[in-house]
């Protein structure tokens, strides 16, 4: 259970699945999220039988996490990063379920799925997902064990590419520009280039600089991130120091890409 709790914290499940602004219970969902498919309300992932994921089998859970398909057969919008979680290993997936099952069940009325989903955007995303079922990483895993651990944390668990990799016109992450920064990603926010390019990325950052950002949200010039990344720092601050170093080690192995400015 401790392993599952750590993974949930690293992935930041509670960030989206908690309606923090309105004092909602942890993991009970209900946070409104602006997406290109309209504003959605995140689902309850506590083990409540009627409104949560209580009674789900391991297969149900795996299908939801890896394929984005709910127990009733409906598809989640890809705001839920299942394409990244597709790379989770079996043990981690099982541990996550044990942890979620250990939570106190919270009953929270389900909010009807928005009917006016942008159909075209959704169809496009479905094609994108079909072409590339695993969004995690287009690169082979590094041979160095520390960097390999970092790769798993960055590409799969942390789903960093969700914001930091730009999308192709089909709405799937561009494999040639992995983590090279994006304009208008999740909730319309842009995210910087985190490949080791000196000019437009983090090529000049030391391992210590990267670790400081993940721990406290501090950039090398003493600035502190706000907004979207501050939310992510709440996850990375919960990691062990070794895992933060592993992330830094992995980011340093990436091919440097130049950030393309918006015209």
């Amino acid at each position: 259970m401790a392993r599952g709790a750590y993974l949930a914290a690293a992935a930041g499940c509670d960030q989206c699945h908690t309606d923090t602004k309105n004092g909602g219970a942890g993991y009970a969902g209900g946070r409104p999220m602006m997406t290109e498919f309209g504003t959605i309300s995140t689902p309850n992932i506590t083990p409540d039988a009627a409104t949560g994921i209580g009674g789900w089998s391991e297969t149900d859970f795996a299908r939801a996490m890896r394929w984005g398909i709910a127990r009733d057969g409906s598809h989640y919008v890809p705001t839920f990063p299942f394409s990244y979680f597709a790379g989770l290993n079996d043990r981690d997936l099982a541990d996550l379920k044990v942890f979620l099952d250990s939570l106190a069940p919270v009953s929270r009325p389900k909010i009807a799925a928005p009917q006016s989903l942008a159909l075209l955007a959704r169809a496009r995303a479905a094609i994108g997902a079909a072409i590339m079922t695993n969004f995690a990483s287009p690169l082979p895993a590094p041979s160095d064990p520390m960097a390999a651990r970092g790769a798993y944390l960055v590409a799969t668990v942390g789903h960093c590419g969700d914001c930091h990799t730009p999308l192709t016109w089909l709405g799937a992450p561009d494999p040639g520009r992995y983590l090279a920064g994006s304009h208008g990603g999740l909730e319309g926010k842009s995210a910087p280039n985190i490949t080791p390019d000196s000019k437009t990325g983090i090529g000049d950052w030391s391992t210590r600089d990267i670790v400081a950002l993940l721990k406290d949200g501090e950039t090398p010039d003493g600035d502190f991130v706000g907004a979207s990344m501050a939310e992510i720092v709440r996850n990375t601050a919960r990691l062990t120091e070794d895992d933060r170093r592993a992330i830094a080690a992995y980011l340093k192995t990436l091919p440097a890409k130049s950030f393309i400015k918006k015209k």
Binding site: H183, K189, S190, R208, A212, K215, D216, G217, E218, D221, G222, D223, F224, V225, G226, A227, A230, V233, A237, K261, K262
Partner: protein, 158 residues
Amino acid sequence: MRLSIKLLAFGAMLAIGAVNTTSALAVDKDQVIKDRQALMKEQGGDMGSVKGYLDGTADQAKATAAATDLIETMKKIPDVFPPGTEGANPEGKYAPKPEVWSDSKGFLAVRDTAADKAEALLAAVKGGDKEKIQTAFSDLGKNGCGGCHGKFREEIKK
């Protein structure tokens, strides 16, 4: 004819006056925005010095001076966000959100929080216990600086 020349002269005077007023205002605003950026950079540098002490690259005296300066610079924050100075430094990456002025009470409350956390950091630095300094440093960074940067700052869309 004479009337029109007079009118023309009057018009010209007005025009010159208008140009002067606008440029005078523009200079003021530009200066405030520059001062604002300089103040933020100074605070960033101060945080860097405290971090340096934690990492063993700066001594306690430097960290104490930096934490003291953080307290002083926190006091100056309202001075660099006067009404009518919306906008970003052209060389900067960020701009203040309109909420700085529309919710000035909230803005000043976050500043007060940051000021309290800066006091706590100075006390910790003076105490010399690195674990306590690290806690106070993270708290000021995440909830003081970061608290404001999340609510009241936005990235310039380039």
